[in-house]
């Protein structure tokens, strides 16, 4: 695999690496990415293995799959087991474990009808093909994904497709960042901000990062050069002691984000508290169905409730997700907890912090 894309240019990247060393002036930089795709990009590109040892990479709550709460998994598994229900979902959720290790993969093996779709819009086709069933789309995802589900619901409503339902499990990033930053143990010196979430929400919601917490923050893309630039920018800001929110992904992210997408989300959903796996409830960090869309709310129509499930014993995901602990310091890591038998959510998704460490990091192997 090779690319002539200048954003992947080895020479350019090496130059930036050199600049990072210079900017650090021998001091450390503890930075956190809050986007799972950044986690994976850092590892897959090899950037992670090339960073100077002073750069400490912490992984935040960066994957909407990982943060799906056990109670949420239990709720959709309960539906998956019902007759007359077809679950439509992004592939990412298939292996996410719920209480007792149950997953959609297992539910299918036990007879549940589950369709993996590429787009929520494809789930509409599933609903049309199964008029006698309820087709329940699992609405996971951050601010990037929520609008795609909302837009699909608008079409379903307009077409009167009453057997298309959604279980909204969306999560919002800024409230989660607030919780992280409010934690007194938090020692992050820079944030790599999520590129595609920002494409929707713009840069304004990040203002407190620089203003209130004085943490250098960079909205970053996903190419090697994007990653290195972001780290360099954080290092520079730290060196100059000029914390700001820098948008270094302008080719995709504008300061105002995507107001059309946000308007659609506001039409279809309303904010609510949400359960984050490993973290717990975060006020205002979720989206529930707006009244006008209740007829498509799987919770409402099918009478499902989130039931408290006990936290996974021994799992330190909460600390990992908050950046308090690197994955390989969890006592279960690579022992009781592996991608085949994930104890915690961070080990599940390809994007999960623990899974990325397990899969990509050479010196752990």
């Amino acid at each position: 695999m090779s690319s002539s894309d200048p954003l992947r240019d080895p020479a350019l990247c090496r130059e930036v690496l050199g600049r990072i060393e210079e900017a650090l002036q021998g001091r450390s930089l503890r930075f956190m990415e809050v986007c799972g795709t950044h986690t994976v990009a850092l590892f897959r590109s090899g950037v992670h293995s090339l960073l100077p040892s002073q750069v400490v990479h912490l992984t935040g709550p960066g994957c909407p799959v990982c943060v799906t709460h056990e109670s949420e998994v239990a709720a959709y598994l309960e539906l998956a087991g019902r007759d007359g229900v077809v679950i439509a979902t992004f592939g990412d959720l298939m292996r996410v474990p719920g209480p007792g290790g149950a997953s959609l993969k297992q539910a299918v093996a036990e007879g549940a009808r589950v369709e993996v779709v590429y787009s929520p819009f494809d789930a509409l086709a599933v609903a049309k093909a199964n008029p006698g069933d309820k087709v329940v789309f699992l609405g996971i995802g951050f601010e990037t994904t929520a609008p795609t589900v909302a837009a699909t619901l608008r079409v379903a409503k307009a077409e009167g497709l009453s057997n298309f339902l959604v279980m909204p499990f969306h999560k919002l990033v800024p409230p989660a960042l607030d919780v992280l930053l409010a934690d007194p143990e938090m020692s992050v010196e820079g944030f790599m901000l999520p590129g595609h979430v920002s494409a929707i929400i713009g840069t304004a919601p990040y203002a407190p990062l620089a203003e209130k917490y004085r943490i250098p923050s960079v909205v970053a893309g996903f190419e090697p050069l994007d990653l290195l630039q972001a780290i360099l920018l954080m290092a520079e800001m730290k060196r100059q002691d000029k914390p700001r929110v820098v948008n270094n992904y302008k080719r995709v992210v504008s300061d105002e984000g995507n107001p059309t997408a946000r308007a659609i989300v506001e039409e279809v959903y309303r904010p609510c508290d949400a359960l984050w796996r490993g973290i717990g409830s975060i006020p205002g960090s979720g989206l529930a169905m707006a009244d006008a869309y209740k007829a498509h709310d799987a919770f409402e129509v099918l009478g499902v409730e989130l039931r408290e499930s006990p936290p996974l014993p021994g799992c330190r995901c909460g600390e990992v997700l908050k950046g308090k602990m690197p994955p390989d310091k969890c006592p279960l890591f690579a022992k009781a907890c592996t991608p085949a038998n994930p104890v915690g959510p961070c080990m599940v998704s390809t994007e999960g912090s623990c899974a990325a460490y397990f899969k990509y990091q050479l010196d752990l192997a």
């Binding site: 986007c35 787009s119 795609t148 595609h196 920018l233 820098v246 107001p259 059309t260």
Partner: protein
């Protein structure tokens, strides 16, 4: 989170666009685009929806900064 790829718009019909990258063609939705993209523009696709038009000048800009002397101005 949120895998997204830039794809070139080849054809638009209502809220549906044919997009292409490296020979791979898909139909995607334009519901989230306030201003519809032009044929020939690149859009960022997430979960079957275009979420942004790719700003190519900005793309070049990022690289140029680094190619032309590293003047990282943090204004």
């Amino acid at each position: 989170m949120c895998l997204a790829v830039p794809m070139e718009v080849k054809h638009i019909e209502g809220e549906v666009a044919d997009v292409e990258i490296g020979g791979v063609r898909k139909q995607i939705r334009l519901d989230l685009m306030g201003d519809k993209p032009q044929v020939g523009e690149f859009v960022i696709i997430h979960a079957g929806f275009a979420i942004r038009v790719l700003n190519r000048e900005e793309a070049m800009e990022t690289i140029k900064i680094f190619q032309e002397g590293w003047n990282l101005e943090l204004v």
